[in-house]
């Protein structure tokens, strides 16, 4: 009797996942892998650090090369036909990228990465909206890139930071948010998906809670967009930020979405960064400051933008659209289930969050764990010896560690091009950790 139960609960079910995975891998994922030169060039490497950054498809390299060889000039400024054409290409790229989150050409601007985008917005809000004793809500699962800009500015502009804490499922409970909100709450800045826990926050419900209260909602989508569709027309978001490099795009490029309702009176507001390219007129003298600012998006883009990266990234976006990228989410969820099952079977692994919650659409892709009684850096060194790349440490989100009561964790982060074989290699290497440390 007991044996039958085991078969039902473990054997058959898990084999089913593997069979399923193998079919999808054969039909689809192997083709995707062929689009990424990294895998051909590094057959010995198992890359499971996708939350840090992702590998690049051929199309990125081809388009970057094409652009630099054929179309390169500065943009927006010159009167020459050639430069005008380059500007058109840039505009077209902006349009493609904006559609990916179902926004408009005129609702996104470019920075260097998500971190710069978050810093820009925090500064912009501090300059123009936040008053003394106003409250900004951040969460215990925030990346330092969202946590620190507001925190530093709160000291200079005298607004208050409130931290929305994790519950024992390592999730953010909407009831707790309602308790945190006061008439002084002006901004909530929150990650769409935790880069440590894999938890996907319900931004639609959060938006519904804050919408009528005049609270601005800022979404750090650096991880979220890699695993979840974003529709800025369906969900009322004020600001949203992501990095191209985590979405198979180039480094040095971040995208910021601003809901167009904030364009009113932009000219009367102080830009966070200023410089060439954002003004229509400048007249400055001892007793005179007369500056005419351009409209969106130029208002937000002082200096020369990452022109060729914007162009190549738009082609990566086209590629993702063409393969119906977000359809791979169910595959990613299955792959995560396979990983978590395997880790649980080992018996010497401490899982965080996944120990008491199922893998689901709200928790997948990123899996934190520790090998019991072994430091994460030792785990990393052993795995490294097998060519396995994972991330260990505090993952730039140290408030989480306090909740987990650990100094550091190991983190496996999957992408749609990972396969079950790679997880098997990881599991074998973890057996070596067990052997070496005599667990």
């Amino acid at each position: 009797m007991k044996k039958n139960d085991d078969v039902l609960n473990n054997g058959i079910l898990k084999d089913d996942i593997l069979t399923d995975l193998r079919i999808i891998e054969k039909e689809k994922v192997q083709k995707i892998r062929a689009d990424f030169p990294f895998f051909k060039n590094n057959p010995e490497i198992v890359y499971l650090d996708n939350a840090a950054t992702t590998q690049k498809p051929y199309i990125l390299l081809e388009k970057e090369k094409e652009f630099l060889e054929k179309y390169y000039s500065n943009v927006n400024r010159s009167a020459s036909k050639f430069s005008f054409h380059t500007t058109e290409l840039l505009d077209k790229s902006r349009d493609i990228i904006s559609k990916f989150i179902n926004s408009n050409f005129n609702e996104i601007f470019f920075t260097y990465n998500a971190t710069y985008g978050l810093n820009y917005l925090a500064l912009f809000l501090a300059y123009n909206y936040l008053k003394e004793n106003d409250e900004v809500i951040l969460t215990q699962m925030e990346h330092h890139s969202n946590l620190l800009p507001f925190t530093y500015l709160s000291k200079i502009f005298n607004f208050k930071i409130k931290i929305w804490k994790l519950n024992n499922n390592l999730e953010l409970d909407l009831n707790d948010l309602e308790k945190l909100i006061t008439p002084k709450t002006k901004v909530i800045s929150i990650t769409y998906m935790s880069n440590v826990l894999g938890v996907v926050n319900n931004i639609e419900s959060i938006s519904n809670i804050v919408k009528d209260k005049g609270i601005m909602l800022l979404i750090d989508a650096a991880q979220g967009i890699v695993h979840n569709e974003i529709d800025t027309k369906k969900i009322d978001i004020d600001f949203l930020v992501f990095s191209a490099h985590k979405l198979y795009g180039p480094t040095g490029l971040g995208v910021v979405y601003i809901n167009k309702k904030h364009f009113k009176n932009l000219q009367t507001k102080t830009p966070a960064f200023a410089g060439g390219g954002i003004v229509s007129k400048v007249n400055i003298d001892e007793n005179l400051i007369d500056i005419g600012l351009l409209g969106f998006p130029y208002y937000f883009e002082p200096g020369t933008p990452a022109i060729s990266q914007i162009y190549s990234f738009s082609h990566v976006i086209n590629y993702l659209e063409n393969i119906n990228y977000y359809d791979y989410k169910t595959y990613e969820i299955k792959l995560t289930k396979y990983l978590v099952n395997k880790l649980q079977e080992l018996g010497f692994i401490e899982l965080y969050g996944y120990d008491r919650n199922e893998v689901s659409r709200n928790r997948f892709g990123i899996v934190p764990f520790n090998v019991k009684n072994v430091h994460s850096h030792d785990v990393s060194t052993v795995l490294d010896n097998y060519g396995i790349v994972i991330r260990v440490g505090h993952h730039c989100a140290q408030l989480i560690n306090k909740k987990l009561n650990v100094d550091s964790t190991c983190r496996v982060s999957l992408a749609f091009y990972n396969i079950s074989n790679e997880i098997d290699t990881l599991i074998q290497a973890l057996y070596q950790v067990k052997k070496i440390f005599k667990l």
Binding site: V374, H375, H377, D378, T381, G393, F437
Partner: protein
């Protein structure tokens, strides 16, 4: 430099010192306490020494970190605690050599000058750290305790 065998890094002596560290506690009557931090991976170490008349009468450590930093500190406390008769100036010279050895600059045999010849047999736990230098990201972990002790002795001599 490639490590040919992960077990040469994680050898039995190292694992033994990691899992049952020597003097990982706070000794009574210590008169020196010093902290060492390895910012790249967050290892933290505190050394406690009882030094009188230019002799190390006792030493211990506390801390958290990976097996390499804990085991190396344990080996250090274990070996140095056998040198109660030696002058700290000589011990400092010995530690300089041990640091060079851990960095892969000198062979084990060359650690011991005339004053310490007879220790060659007794200090063999150091062989556990022989291959650390082949993994540069972990070298700092192995050196943390030794460098902290060296700093203390430099101040006193």
């Amino acid at each position: 430099m490639e490590l040919d065998n992960i077990n040469s890094l994680y050898n039995d002596i190292l694992i033994e010192h990691y899992q049952r560290p020597f003097n990982k506690k706070i000794i009574e009557n210590y008169n020196i306490k010093q902290e060492g931090i390895n910012p790249s991976c967050g290892d933290e170490l505190e050394l406690y020494l009882k030094i009188n008349n230019q002799k190390i009468e006792d030493l211990s450590f506390q801390g958290k970190g990976c097996s390499v930093s804990i085991a190396s500190a344990s080996i250090m406390c274990y070996l140095i605690s056998t040198l109660k008769e030696y002058n700290i100036k000589d011990i400092k010279d010995l530690i300089d050599n041990i640091i060079d050895y851990i960095k892969g600059k000198i062979e084990y045999e060359n650690i011991f000058n005339e004053n310490f010849r007879e220790l060659k047999q007794e200090f063999q736990d150091l062989l556990a750290l022989k291959d650390i230098y082949k993994i540069p990201v972990r070298l700092k972990c192995a050196l943390l305790g030794w460098i902290t002790l060296k700093e203390i002795l430099e101040e006193l001599t």
